[in-house]
């Protein structure tokens, strides 16, 4: 597995990713999980960019990040809509 030069940067992102994953599980409240999921998306986007320095990687990283943000947004909106129990 060819690791590029920024080894410490990749390790930082990986450690933060695992930390965020653990915080997600340990958090009981659903809504409070979402900021930790957001941190995870940041970390994995960082890992993606650091693994493969190619111009198209920007598109893949951005697609992943926007996708995961959209997903968190959808989860949060649906949760908000469900609890209020309108319609």
């Amino acid at each position: 597995m060819a690791e590029g030069m920024p080894v410490i940067a990749i390790y930082v992102c990986a450690v933060i990713a695992v930390y965020a994953a653990l915080r997600i599980i340990l958090q009981r409240n659903t809504m409070r999980k979402l900021p930790f999921l957001n941190v995870l998306s940041f970390a994995v986007t960082g890992i993606i960019a650091l693994l493969l320095p190619h111009p198209i990687t920007i598109a893949a990283a951005a697609a992943y990040f926007v996708g995961s943000t959209l997903e968190s947004n959808a989860i949060a909106s649906t949760w908000a809509g469900g609890i209020k129990k309108d319609e």
Binding site: G4, M5, P6, I8, A9, V12, C13, I16, Y19, A20, R23, N29, M31, R32, L34, P35, F36, L37, N38, V39, F42, A43, T45, G46, I48, A49, L50, P53, H54, P55, T57, I58, A59, A61, A62, A63, F65, V66, T69, L70, S72, N73, A74, I75, A76, S77, W79, A80, G81, I83
Partner: protein, 168 residues
């Protein structure tokens, strides 16, 4: 130049300042952009945090804001130089519109970050330092203690309201 861990920490501080200043400027802590952001803000407040801080954290989760812009700008400069950063800004703009966000915080943050990261690479930093730095910066806001982070944001928000008029 400097050692890599030191560079990453300095980059983290710069990223933190960049995205905080731009998000505060674009009034992110004022209200929730979408219903999901408001829900997160209410939950943070129930846990003991400040409502305005919660709004900003909710907005960060729901839509690409300056923090996302800074991260993607660093990735862009790392992968393809200065124009990579600008390409990332275009993608952030598209992402904002896809998430129904009418604001420009993300795009602005991305453009300023492109300039900052590119300038820093000329004086000895590596773009990868900014990627790791931005992840650390967002960890401090969203990933350690929601209560304390939201109170910190609310304090900055009140300072911003006093300096630049234009919020409630």
């Amino acid at each position: 130049m400097l050692d890599e861990p030191t560079r990453i920490l300095i980059a983290a501080v710069i990223c933190w300042l960049n995205f905080m200043i731009i998000d505060l400027f674009f009034k992110l802590p004022e209200s929730g952009g979408v219903s999901g952001a408001t829900a997160i803000a209410e939950e943070v407040e129930k846990g003991g945090g400040a409502l305005n801080g919660g709004f900003m954290m909710g907005n960060i989760v729901s839509s690409p804001d300056a923090s996302a812009g800074t991260l993607l700008a660093s990735c862009g400069v790392f992968c393809a130089g200065f124009f990579g950063g600008l390409f990332a800004a275009v993608l952030v703009y598209a992402g904002n519109r896809i998430c129904y966000d009418p604001g420009y915080a993300g795009t602005t943050g991305c453009i300023t970050a492109t300039f900052i990261v590119y300038g820093a690479t000329q004086i000895g930093f590596a773009a990868s330092d900014f990627i790791a730095g931005m992840v650390i910066a967002i960890l401090t806001i969203q990933g350690i203690s929601h209560v304390h982070a939201s109170r910190l944001i609310a304090r900055f928000w009140s300072v911003r309201c006093r300096w630049l008029r234009g919020c409630r």
